[in-house]
Amino acid sequence: MKKKTCHYDHLIDEYLLDKLKPEDAEAFEEHYFICPHCFAKLDQQSEIVKILKKEGVLESGGEACEHVPPPRPSLWRRLLAKFRR
């Protein structure tokens, strides 16, 4: 069975993290009042995001992130460096 999706699905995360522009947030709020699919997803995701943000669940991930390698220079810079050698 095909899963039901909605045009607004992709806004859920950014709405919960307050990353949407005010006008987009407003449009999404108006939408989830009439879209049970989005509201159900929003409601469920909201608690998960709260846990991920506040409960220290990911704090240990911060330690893991300390050894995240620094971003690689772009392909152009790498090529330039190669030619300079």
Binding site: E29, L52, K53, C65
Partner: protein, 179 residues
Amino acid sequence: MVKEGKSAPPEDAVLQYRAVISFRVRKALGSSNPDWEDVVNEILTQAVAKIKSGEFRGDSSIGTFLYTITSRRIIDYIRQKTRVLKHAPEPAPYPDPHDEMEHRERARQVEQVVNGLKPKFRDVLYLYYYKELSREEVARALDISPRRVSERVNYALKLIQKAVRKEASGVRSGASSTD
């Protein structure tokens, strides 16, 4: 969310929106704000009164009508609060012990899934949810494409949701078997 039948009493139609109105109000006021429930009840009462008085003529959907009332009430509340209680301390909220227990249990499940994730997924979750970077910023930090960031976030979220749902249905079936 609601079947807009003509025969349904306004109270019933409006009450079906309690969850969505509560969500919106808590998001705007903060879920630790002890006033949120009063504000929701005021919105519901106001909506029923407006429907009864014929102010809601059905030009828009009832969802849109309730959204408008909710947004106006939130703005009024924030204005009032800023004016009257600018420096008043907030009373501490009284969390429901049952809700608290369920929340703690879900937090434990989420933690379990997160701990079992490969570092590449945990790092993305950490930067995106905990550090609140944008998808593009996470992509730059980890030298992957923004699309890959979305894929990793979605994958991890699916695992978490699955674990939470599984546990919830286990709790429900366990509860019903003991009845």
